[in-house]
């Protein structure tokens, strides 16, 4: 760009200089021509005067006069020729070529020419005489003169009267004008060239420029014409313009230099201005952007620039934008690290904090604790759960938990080095899981204290949406560096400890290595259980229940079995609690229910009218659709509701029963029978029994097995039977394994017996076979002294 401008300036300067030079030289030429013309005219007049003088002088000569009066041409010619010998005819400006003589009527008398010239004697410029002759009066006494060209030569001719005012004749003198005009050389002080009528140079100065030197000269021309306007002579003067040219060149160089300097200056000035108004502020903006790019914290720093209006606008917009970006970035950060529902930090943030704390505490001999907290919220005191309530509950649970864990008042001694650590320590990991980092807790004892405190705080019911809800939390505790020194390890240990707490129902547990194997197995089984149903690994086995008096098989109890591919059948004692933990209990229950009802229908088809008893976790009864589903299944399989007995136990499900009451009522109304399982162990109060519309009580097997050994157990059995009697309830004894059990239970008046003594739980097909083999009609024939049919 700059180069282009420079080139342009250069071209402009050169062109201007050339034009200037041309005009200057032209000017010179014009002036010179004017000068030349004047000088030529001057010499011409001088020539005229001299020739006139000569003509007059000749007239005065005696010889001339004599010749004139003598009219013999030859004599006249001889006399005329003799004149040429006179010195004065060829001196100075005059080079006399011819003389002509005329009478008063301008009739030619004679003429003569310069002998040495070898030209015709005839007068060359004859027109003069013609012109002279047409005059009259005093006019005829005037002299006439002209330039003319003849035979390629130039002549100056003058016709002068002889004899004054009353001429008696005329004389015409013709001379070579070039001789006269050659004087121009010295008059002008320049070399000249005179061109003859032939076109060739008739005279040329010695220093006439030729060849290359012609460039250094300016040529001025002047043409002299004859009276008939034909050109006779051309005079050219050469003016040496070398010095002029040099001056012009110098001027040109000076101009170029000035132009260059000015251009340079202009460029520098422009550059400076541009830099200040454009380049510098732009650079600043760019730098600022780069900084912001490298370090996101610097987004939103405002920048102020000076410069053009547009640049300032750019800066303003830039500031607005970066501000928005920063707030956006902040929001993103927040969202990435925050749980939306509870506003607590999320798993990612916890990881960060954990890593931070690890880095901080490493090699310093300091310890901290990591809590994994699980929230069980199924103990609704009253009301029915729904999503809005659950979310609200979780929020306030989180808040209280947060508060409970934050307060460190109860930590009486805190090592001063810990005090400045500030980590927001409760995070929600998802679902019902929370975690807490306690940087000030240094050992297990402190950790347990904090955890216990938290548990206590959480025991108070929560109120939301007009409902009061109790939650149960389990805390797993891992310590750094005791249980691990990396984030993943600590999290895992805390997790295992938490599962252990859940399993044992203990509330808070500190990690121990022994817990690990259990939980590992448990984790694996979790996965398998989820797929067990899909894989068809689940099965229902049936254990016959026999009326002790009539020895009839009155029904069967359905028991779930899991045929795990790796292992043998896993008993429900194990996988049912697991199912409850992983929220699989409802589908399992429904599945079992459907299976049982279907099998019941199948037995009826082969002529066996057997009732079926299915174990139901009270949680299932919380489901609003459970009752309707059950009834639908019964209808679908055409099984009478009375054939179905639901066995409910409260063992391990504290406080769930009351909420199940509505459902129980409906089931009862539909004709389905209810049995209270594990009676004596799980059921908290007899008073609540009053509210339950049950039909049957089942004595826990532990009592049955120990009643022969332990009199208090025997007492419980008896008491149970009494209660049942009073309420008109059926009594079922589980775990009848020995004949002695049978006998004793029969004595007490137990209605129904179930146990290995009679039969083990069998698959549907096996049951049918067993019935066929061991019963007639529905009656089981057990020998009076039955052998133990199956090994306990």
């Amino acid at each position: 760009m700059i180069g282009l401008m420079g080139l342009l300036a250069l071209i402009l300067t050169l062109t201007t200089a050339k034009v200037f030079e041309h005009r200057t030289l032209d000017n010179h030429r014009t002036l010179l021509e004017q000068l030349l013309a004047r000088k030529v005219e001057g010499i011409y007049q001088q020539l005229r005067i001299e020739v006139t003088d000569l003509a007059l002088a000749l007239q005065a000569e005696n010889e001339f006069r004599a010749a004139f009066s003598n009219r013999v041409p030859t004599v006249i010619t001889a006399a005329l020729t003799k004149q040429f010998q006179r010195q004065f005819v060829s001196d100075g400006m005059i080079r006399l070529n011819r003389i002509g003589l005329y009478d008063r009527n301008l009739e030619s008398l004679s003429q003569a020419s310069e002998p040495l010239l070898k030209i015709e004697p005839d007068i060359a410029c004859g027109t003069l005489a013609e012109r002279a002759n047409v005059r009259s009066g005093l006019e005829r006494s005037k002299a006439l003169y002209t330039l003319c060209a003849a035979h390629g030569r130039a002549y100056f001719a003058l016709l002068a009267p002889i004899g004054g005012l009353r001429p008696i004749g005329y004389v015409q003198l013709e001379t070579d004008p070039i001789t006269a005009f050659a004087r121009l050389e010295s008059e002008l002080g320049m070399p000249i060239q005179i061109i003859a009528p032939t076109g060739q140079p008739a005279f040329q100065s010695l220093d006439w420029p030729g060849g290359t030197t012609r460039d250094r000269a300016v040529f001025a021309r002047h043409v002299e014409y004859a009276t008939n306007y034909e050109p006779v002579l051309t005079v050219i003067a050469a003016y040496n313009v070398e010095t002029l040219r040099q001056q012009l060149d110098r001027t040109l160089y000076l101009l170029l230099l000035s132009a260059a300097v000015i251009t340079l200056f202009a460029i520098v000035a422009m550059r400076v201005t541009l830099t200040r108004s454009l380049v510098t502020p732009l650079e600043r903006l760019v730098t600022h952007l780069q900084h912001a790019n490298q370090d996101k914290q610097r987004l939103g720093e405002p920048i102020a620039v000076q410069g053009d209006y547009e640049v300032r606008q750019l800066a303003t917009t830039f500031n607005v934008m970066t501000d928005e970006l920063r707030s956006l970035y902040g929001t993103l950060q927040y969202m990435a690290f925050t749980d939306p529902l509870t506003r607590l930090p999320n798993r990612m943030q916890l990881q960060e904090n954990l890593n931070y704390l690890l880095a901080l505490y490493k090699d310093k001999g300091l310890s901290f604790a990591l809590f994994m907290i699980d929230v069980d919220r199924f103990n609704h005191v009253d009301g029915i759960p729904n999503d809005a309530v659950s979310d609200a509950l979780l929020q306030i649970v989180a808040t209280r938990l947060h508060e409970a864990l934050r307060s460190t008042d109860f930590l009486s001694h805190i090592p001063p080095s810990h005090v400045n650590v500030n980590v927001d320590n409760v995070a929600r990991l998802g679902g019902d899981e929370f975690a807490a980092l306690l940087p000030l807790v240094g050992n297990a004892e402190q950790a347990m204290r904090v955890a216990t405190n938290a548990l206590a705080a959480m025991r108070q019911p929560f109120e939301t949406h007009g409902q009061r809800i109790k939650v149960e939390i389990n805390i797993g505790i891992a310590l750094f560096p005791l249980h691990g020194n990396d984030a993943a390890g600590l999290l895992r240990c805390a997790d295992i400890a938490m599962y252990e707490a859940k399993r044992q129902g203990r509330g808070c547990v500190v990690f121990e290595a022994t817990q690990e194997q259990y939980t590992v197995r448990q984790f694996d089984l979790e996965l398998d259980l989820r797929q067990a149903m899909a894989r068809g690994q689940l099965d229902l086995h049936y254990q016959p229940q026999v009326n002790m008096k009539s020895r009839k098989v009155v029904g069967v109890e359905a028991l779930m079995r899991w045929h795990h591919h790796d292992q043998d059948m896993i008993p429900p004692d194990f996988f049912i609690p697991l199912a409850e933990q992983i929220n699989m209990i409802r589908p399992l229950t429904l599945w079992a229910l459907e299976q049982a009802i279907r099998d019941c229908a199948r037995w009826r088809l082969v002529g066996r009218n057997l009732g079926v008893a299915v174990n139901i976790a009270p949680i299932c009864l919380h489901d609003p659709g459970f009752v309707s589903t059950t009834l639908r299944l019964l209808e679908q399989w055409r099984v009478s509701p009375g054939m179905l007995t639901l066995e409910i136990t409260e063992r391990g499900h504290h406080g769930q029963l009351p909420n199940a009451l509505p459902a129980i009522g409906e089931l009862n109304k539909a004709g389905i029978r209810l049995s209270v399982d594990d009676f004596g162990i799980g059921y908290p109060s007899v008073a609540q029994l009053k509210q339950l519309p049950v039909h049957q009580l089942k004595i826990d097997r532990s009592f049955v097995i120990d009643m022969l050994r332990d009199p208090s157990d025997a007492g419980i059995v008896r008491a149970t039977i009494d209660i049942a009697r009073h309420r008109n309830l059926e009594v079922v004894a589980e775990g009848v394994e020995l004949q002695t059990h049978w006998n004793a239970l029969a004595d007490y008046g137990v209605d129904i017996a179930q146990g290995y003594l009679i039969a083990r739980p069998m698959s549907h097909a096996d049951l049918v076979n067993w019935l066929d083999a061991n019963t007639t009609g529905n009656t089981v024939w057990i020998p009076q002294s039955p052998t133990i049919l199956a090994s306990g």
Binding site: I49, Q87, L138, L165
Partner: protein
């Protein structure tokens, strides 16, 4: 021949200029040509003079130039009398009567000698005086014959 009659205002202005010029002293040539018309003085051209010379009563022609000027050539029959030498006595020698026609000339229209001499003649009561304003230069330029005092071997 009709002679021009000058207007009063023009003449008056020119008279002032002329007086000033005269006051600065004699000069062979003036910076500018002399006025064509001078009140009380009759100016003639070369043609006029030729006619006069051709007539029966040729006037007396007085060449008022310095010797140098005259050496360039003179009108045939003219008498050399410089204006410096012009006075009533010298004039009386040359001019026959007070009424004799007398023409004064010098070198050109720029030369003031002839005018000077003419005025002197008027002062000497010569009544028939003429001023050949153009001078020898006009005579020569128009090609009228003259006597060349020098031989052309310069």
């Amino acid at each position: 021949m009709r002679l021009p009659i000058p207007s009063t205002t023009v003449v008056r202005t020119l008279l002032v200029a002329l007086t000033l010029a005269a006051a600065t002293g004699h000069a062979e040539e003036y910076a500018q040509p002399l006025p064509e018309l001078v009140p009380g003085i009759t100016a003639i051209t070369a043609e006029n003079l030729a006619g006069m010379l051709d007539s029966k009563n040729a006037p007396t022609v007085i060449d008022a130039r310095a010797a140098k000027g005259r050496s360039h050539g003179y009108i045939e029959g003219s008498i050399h009398l410089t204006d410096v030498d012009t006075n009533c006595a010298s004039l009386a020698k040359l001019i026959r009567t007070q009424d004799t026609a007398t023409v004064f000339y010098c070198s050109s229209s720029k030369c003031g000698r002839s005018l000077n001499a003419l005025k002197i003649a008027q002062g000497c009561r010569y009544r028939n005086v003429y001023w050949f304003r153009g001078g020898f230069e006009e005579w020569q330029d128009k090609g009228y014959p003259y006597i060349s005092a020098n031989v052309p071997s310069r």
